[in-house]
Symmetry: D3
């Protein structure tokens, strides 16, 4: 949950459960969200929606209930494609994404699942699609940060807010 | 690298390579070390050496060159056991650790490798050895944070300082 | 897609894409749906919603885009729980299900992923929750049949109808 | 067991145990064998022996006692090569098969084990050996159907008839 | 191939291909067969047939064409059970073996596949079935020795003699 | 432990624990060390240090406490590179080795982990770096022999002598 999204949630009188989960550890809370915002809210070669796609694909690989649902909502909101998040979560190879985004997710999945085997050829595959070294760092850092987030959420049983499941699926979400 | 260790390194005119690796991203750098210090330097139910054992065991599972070597040095320094870090890295089940530490590392390894399958019985196994819920959070957070650190270090090819390989192995390490 | 569901779809002027995908092989088509209906539409110890939960959990383990989305819709429709399908797909261990349903899905997942290791103790775990031998056969056959379906859909790139993504998520789904 | 084989068995006064195993579920029984016959007995680009090789290779990957033994017999009978079935079961890469058959089994094994990762390049590898799209469907459907069969046989402990172990190994099998 | 079996083969004018494969390295050849004979031909708590079952089960797990076929022949010859070797190779959990032999193979498979996780409880499971510490050493050493043999045979493409496929399957094997 | 190393140890009044572990089985002991010496002490295309690198990389993959520590010492002693053994053990892809040594270890790791999938292309990759067929046999045999050694050491809980941890790390190792 970045600043922007937290504003959106605030407007809807929601607090993301992740916020509550970490709240009893203020130092960790501050560091977690500072890191999160540094990766997810800055300008750069990856769009906000693309960053969230990385989160959804890798979080699904880690079977993280919280992150797939919450960040799936963000994929839908940022990309304005109501089907995309489910596609990326189930099998990103079959999702309606560009070849560039496919290369991005291939790299992100290798960071999530086989980081010790990343080599020059993996970076070369990114460069072929126009990604810079800074973009490669972003993909790496996002997949790594949410690998941390997935593990914390899995172990602590963090649950997504009910609102996230439907967010971005219909033109005007029903107000409760 | 926490504050204390960084002081030690400073005294030796060393800068941990991890510090240099992250330096070109100041916001991420600050958040990374703030999070690191919140987890590794605070008081709590786990000793500093035990926290570093978690780092070494899980980083070895992730084949992270940087973290196994750098944090292996810290295990040796904090625990004053020159053989322990190698034992924990290669196969923690055979290491000279207490049953309590074995339970701690079993839990940490499940966080690192199979976090989606963590259930109440895993926490119960910790409680049997006197770990509190706050300790369980610490183990979770440390294994998760260094899971992130391992992936970043692996993908970016971060290398440990040469000094770390020998640190804590001999009574008085040779000065360069 | 069983008869009942096909009626629903007909009422909405939809034809499930799975129907189209198999249509060029009439003998396989007839046998596939005869088998499907024999497993999914009959009376028995498992409710229709529970059968569909088996499909969703095992299809997610097989990363089957078609089956997770299409049968996720059926879980929502039959169980009238709009969040349940996503929970079961991402990590059934964290889903809002009964202990009996958890035992059912544990068995189904072992059929899907490790069938050679199924032993008496696995059946005993089912019996403890009141499942009969006929129920165990049903769970086995459903997980096995959709293991087939998943592989065909994955290899042929079968895609779910767009309508399935939203079905059962809101009280009155929008009509196209 | 297709019609032809069932005739052979009938002539020998044998009933394949698979027939007995499914007999208490007449609807499933009929659908299973209708599907089986649609895949295994029709004319097409794959010989009967080649279809059975697919069954043996993928069933061995699934450790299915029934299918490896029963369909191993069929490989020997159809191909008239008494050593081939064991070779395909143990490690198809070392079997005495043509490069075309190797490509067929590579594809079949990917369907059995990693279907979510099948992509255009896998089909291209088949086409290089002269397989058509219909042949690719056949390979897919056979590997998928027997993936179902393997799981049912494994979970229910289905055992092959003793006669299958020796069938096709010697010029004239001993009559009991 | 131990001394006794080599005598049998000599009587049939056969030389096991494994003998030929190693022959160009006389020192390795001598050490290999000295080790082999020390493990497979000595007296002890395991029968010759049981030792060969260990070879077949673990060699199948390693997909070793040579060892499964050649030592499958020995299982049939020693145990006088023509179906047993195939059962053990495909899925030892479904084989017609005693609970004691099942425990023996469970331990052997853990040596072959997960030796780093062997702990006291694994030895205790053996002791419950009357195995001594010397028997446990035998099981360990046989599974380990053939793990070596499997890897050499796999990498060098060693092929079993044609005669092994049929040996022990019929009361009087046909003479060529 | 080969002859040469045993001399070194003798000079230091050490007996490698592996020697003690096997001593109660004299026939196995003699065969083990005869095989060991045939592989590790002979002249050939691989240097002694390279052979020990193979041992360390594959033993780390098998999580063998004894072999990683004892043969890590030998890598340091033979190669006179105090950091190399740890690098090879943790992730040989990141170690300071030549492209030729990388190809050697890639092949050795495939022997250790996936020997059934070794094909001509794997040998071709070795030949590209100037390795002969005899060298390929050496790599295969060493990775296979220590795969055996790893399993025996893991199951029997063999522990390395304390001296091995430090050997080769400092110019003049401290005498006890």
């Amino acid at each position: 949950m970045g600043y922007e999204m937290r504003s959106t949630l605030t407007a809807r009188k929601m607090t993301a459960n992740a916020t509550l989960g970490l709240a009893h550890r203020p130092d960790e809370f501050r560091a977690f969200f500072a890191y999160h915002d540094a990766l997810m809210l800055k300008e750069g070669g990856l769009s906000k929606g693309e960053r969230e796609m990385i989160v959804v694909a890798t979080s699904a690989a880690n079977s993280c209930h919280y992150c797939v649902v919450a960040h799936g909502a963000l994929v839908r909101v940022y990309e304005k494609k109501p089907l995309l998040a489910d596609q990326v979560a189930i099998n990103y190879r079959k999702a309606d994404i560009s070849p560039r985004q496919r290369a991005m997710l291939d790299f992100a999945m290798k960071v999530a699942l086989l980081s010790a085997e990343i080599e020059e050829s993996d970076f070369a595959a990114l460069h072929e699609h126009g990604f810079t070294d800074e973009d490669a760092w972003d993909i790496t850092a996002i997949a790594s940060f949410f690998g941390m987030s997935n593990r914390i959420a899995n172990a602590t049983g963090m649950r997504p807010n009910d609102e996230f499941y439907l967010m971005g699926r219909v033109p005007k979400p029903p107000r409760g």
